[in-house]
Amino acid sequence: MARVLLNIPRTARKGEVIAIRTLIQHVMETGYRPGADGEVLPRDIIRRFTASFEGEEVFAADLSPAIAANPFLSFTMVASTTGTLVLRWQGDKGFDQTETREIMVTG
């Protein structure tokens, strides 16, 4: 499992705009670079990131080989109800990681 750093508020007021910030450990190998033996290293990147809240997609991004290692992604969403945020990173070599966090909405 890749390590992740998440900055997600645990609680929010109803209607508040909250920022979700994510950082995941990944080499993001472009597929264009030669390795130590001169052979081109196969591409190994995260291709897609999705975030869904209570089953509904609230943010998605397609990643490309030009993105640096350990990609940092951040977005904002409106806290409507208490629920579960599911973050998912998918990529080459079967990379597939999911993190879930509860967000408590008050008021």
Binding site: L5, N7, R21, Q25, M28, A68, A69, N70, F72
Partner: protein, 252 residues
């Protein structure tokens, strides 16, 4: 005569002014990069710190003894340790840097397979241990046995090297604050190591940084772990005494 007296009087002032002007590479970074370093959820170096925490508590070696088994909680046991390295190693009767000490504990005390320099595991453990000294001043040991190595470090720092025939001092003392191609030349204070360098897209040690500066002037770098590096690290720590540790830092 008056002039001489004046110079003599001014000298301590000049020295203290120079000390105040010491700047961490952090201070000359773009605000975004500074923000990245200061936010633990945006600083990629924290990925290695997390890994290091896991390794600290993981059983290793024939006795299955984790680092924590002997040292307990790193938050208390390792607080301030990174701030006084490199230090004197009684066993080898030689100076040793923090990564070297961790390698030694791992091999000799845990009896676990050695961790090579710059391996992910060693970087992670070093980052985790160094993190416990974040915010503390660099306090080089007052151990006279380290003096010869410090003097050697100073000599290596001022010696011209490589096809470009440049010394560390020519860039980092005489031209610090100016620009070399796109990069600001920092004063070369070892406040942030191991650190995440955006150019490396990875965490790296101070020795990796020093190798980079050596190949930059087209000099042959020493092998990882060489005593020459430890000597330079000692001199740099002395030069930066009192400055605040910021590991794991971020640099461009």
């Amino acid at each position: 005569m008056t002039r001489l007296a004046c110079i003599l009087l001014l000298l301590p002032l000049c020295l203290s002014a120079a000390a105040e002007e010491r700047r961490s590479g952090f201070q000359d970074m773009a605000p975004e990069t500074q923000a990245m370093q200061q936010d633990d959820t945006a600083n990629p170096g924290m990925l290695w710190v997390l890994e290091g925490e896991t390794l600290w508590n993981a059983p290793a070696g024939p006795a299955g003894q984790p680092c924590a088994g002997c040292h307990g909680s790193a938050e208390s046991a390792m607080r301030g340790v990174a701030a006084r390295y490199p230090a004197w190693d009684e066993a080898d009767a030689a100076p040793i840097d923090l990564a070297g000490r961790i390698q030694q504990c791992r091999a000799a005390r845990q009896g676990a397979p050695p961790l090579p320099r710059e391996s992910e595991e060693l970087l992670a453990l070093t980052a985790y241990v160094a993190r416990q000294s974040r915010g503390l001043p660099i306090t080089p040991p007052e151990d006279p046995r380290l003096d010869p190595a410090r003097a050697e470090g100073r000599a290596l720092y001022t010696e011209r090297r490589g096809q470009l025939d440049l010394s560390c001092a020519q860039c980092h003392d005489e031209n610090a604050g100016r620009r070399l191609a796109g990069s600001a030349i920092p004063q070369a204070h070892p406040t942030g190591y191991p650190l995440y360098r955006l150019e490396w897209q990875s965490l790296g040690s101070l020795q990796r940084r020093l190798r980079g500066c050596m190949t930059g002037v087209r000099a042959e770098p020493y092998a990882y772990g060489a005593l020459e590096y430890v000597a330079i690290e000692l001199y740099l720590a002395q030069r930066a005494a009192g400055m605040t540790l910021e590991a794991p830092a971020v640099r461009p």
